[in-house]
């Protein structure tokens, strides 16, 4: 690896990891996708600094990450507004900047959202494991030594010759996502919505749920009225594959939105968050309020197409 030392972690904050867009093709070994929980923010961040959208970035949660810049590098911060600062100045998000050797980048605390992404030209260097640079926290591989970042870690990036070309790019301001509670998440019913009572389904799409503090990268745990099963349905089902956005309802009737760290599970899924709203899941914060809107499969695919068209438009604008 020919990377050059670029960042030193002065403080990792609550939790910071190296992630890309996830690990696919290894579910049969029980390996979940992992990956950045707000993939939209990662793609934009990478494009802003001239990277392939799949390059590895630093994902940081809530507050406290402090990074020392070890060499001049083009960076961009996207995702949740954790009030990033560069030196003594606020660091405007959703645009690229030249960070100078010796400067510090600090995430001081939540303005909106829950997770921010720091992208650097060349991409954070990490060995690809099973095709991905994402950190698998359950088994401790991928990312930076298979673990969350610690004080003193040195992150390298591939030097990019004409990176400076990308030092002042901006994402379309009106396309920057709004992260705010109460959240309305669009879902498609299923795969096991028929296992729930009419009353349970009604509760699911009309109630406001509160995000529990024991939510983490494995799932967003919700508290609210009980989502009831049909009479006679046992608590669990035969284990099957699962993916992020699936909303499982265990025996206590309190929904859990599955995130990227789980490959299989044995609970009923009443509904699944649509692809276009998946990136929002990374920004939902404990204490927030969440409600669900059921949409058709056609509407879901249309929403995804809208998001991808926007991304394509942004990519074209960078080439001009």
């Amino acid at each position: 690896m020919a990377g050059v030392n670029t960042f030193e972690v002065l403080s990792p904050g609550i939790m910071s990891t190296v992630q890309d867009l996830g690990r696919f093709g290894c579910a049969r070994y029980g390996v979940a996708a992992s990956g950045a929980l707000d993939g939209f923010a990662v793609r934009v961040g990478n494009l802003l600094v001239g990277n392939d959208e799949r390059a590895a970035v630093v994902e940081t949660t809530l507050m406290g990450l402090r990074i020392k810049v070890l060499r001049d590098a083009v960076v961009a911060v996207t995702g949740g507004d954790l009030q990033p600062r560069k030196g003594s100045e606020p660091l405007p998000m959703w645009r690229s900047h030249l960070a100078r050797e010796g400067e510090t980048i600090v995430f001081s605390g939540p303005g909106s959202g829950f997770r921010a992404y720091l992208a650097v030209a060349g991409g954070i260097q990490a060995a690809a494991v099973m095709g991905s640079r994402s950190t698998n926290l359950s088994s401790g591989f991928g990312g930076f030594e298979g673990r969350p970042l610690r004080k003193g870690d040195i992150l390298a990036a591939e030097p990019v010759k004409d990176a400076i070309r990308f030092a002042d790019k901006a994402f379309t301001p009106e396309a920057v996502p709004v992260y705010s509670s109460p959240w309305r998440l669009r879902v498609v019913w299923g795969p096991q919505d028929d296992h729930f009572s009419e009353e349970g389904k009604h509760t699911f799409v009309t109630a406001a749920f509160t995000v529990s503090p024991d939510s983490d990268r494995t799932g967003i745990r919700l508290k609210g009225p009980v989502v009831t099963r049909k009479p006679g349905m046992e608590e669990s089902i035969i284990s099957e594959g699962i993916l992020s956005g699936a909303i499982q309802v265990p025996g206590d009737g309190q929904p859990i939105i599955i995130l990227g760290e789980t490959a299989s599970g044995g609970y009923r899924k009443i509904a699944t968050v649509i692809s276009a709203d998946l990136p929002l899941l990374g920004q939902i914060t404990p204490g927030d309020e969440v409600a669900f809107d059921a949409v058709s499969m056609e509407e879901a695919v249309q929403a995804l197409r809208g998001m991808e068209n926007q991304m394509d438009k942004f990519k074209r604008s960078l080439k001009q």
């Binding site: 696919f24 093709g25 290894c26 579910a27 049969r28 070994y29 029980g30 390996v31 979940a32 996708a33 494991v129 099973m130 698998n136 359950s138 088994s139 401790g140 591989f141 991928g142 879902v187 498609v188 299923g190 795969p191 096991q192 035969i238 284990s239 099957e240 594959g241 699962i242 993916l243 956005g245 699936a246 490959a263 299989s264 899924k269 699944t272 968050v273 649509i274 692809s275 499969m297 879901a300 695919v301 995804l304 197409r305 991808e308």
Partner: protein, 223 residues
């Protein structure tokens, strides 16, 4: 029961649960394994991931590359073609286990619950050749069955927050091995030193769906 035709349940706009039966059985699980191999050998456009379960495959796809209706049609075609010939030879792995004591803190409790001796639990656990139905929970974790009916015990009422790597557990008619330290609710009856998962290996998981496993009791060395 094996379904005559696969049944589809969409899991959101980007994945499809393909159900091949409704029970835990070797026949249903072999159908799952066959369809998985077929879809690996002749990949369908837009498919990003295939996650096998006991009785189903979760097929993750890009809905902007292939529409759900077309994907279902193509999977149904593949399922209709399959014969039992395509399955690779299952490997048989003998797993040495230290039963009881600090290695298997629930062994005595399990024996007590079942009203048999600890030695009888060990004898029953080691006499069966188990099928690996799926790998899941954590990377490399083999769900194996079926445990003899005489060994069926419920999960622990309070799951442990930390189950040591290598722990051998049982729950209902299943047995499994924890590849890394993790939380867990199964009854821990022993421990094995084998490495189930190594991300740097070509095949990261030692066991795969369809493999066979036999446990062998190892006497602890007296010091």
């Amino acid at each position: 029961m094996v379904h005559a035709l696969p049944r589809f349940r969409p899991m959101g706009d980007r994945s499809l649960l393909v159900e091949l039966g409704d029970t835990i059985s070797p026949d249903v699980n072999r159908r799952v394994q066959q369809l998985m191999l077929q879809l690996q050998q002749a990949p369908l456009p837009g498919v990003r991931e295939i996650a096998p379960g006991y009785r189903s495959l979760l097929v993750v796809y890009d809905p902007l590359t292939i529409a759900a209706a077309e994907l279902m049609e193509r999977i149904a075609e593949a399922a209709a073609q399959q014969g039992l010939a395509g399955l690779p030879q299952a490997k048989l792995l003998t797993v040495p286990v230290f039963y009881g004591g600090d290695y298997g803190p629930d062994l005595e409790g399990v024996a007590g619950h079942l009203g048999i001796s600890s030695d009888e639990v060990i004898r029953l656990h080691t006499e069966t050749v188990y099928r690996v139905y799926m790998i899941g929970f954590t990377p490399g974790y083999p769900y194996m069955g079926e445990l003899p009916a005489a060994l069926a015990v419920p999960r622990r009422s309070t799951p442990r927050t930390r189950v040591p790597k290598g722990s051998v557990g049982i729950a209902q008619r299943q047995t499994g091995i924890y590849p890394v330290e993790s939380p867990g609710g199964w009854q821990i009856i022993g421990w094995t030193p084998i490495e189930l998962f190594d991300p740097s290996r070509q095949l990261p998981s030692l066991l795969e769906m369809g493999d066979r496993v036999k446990f062998e009791a190892v006497r602890q060395v007296e010091i």
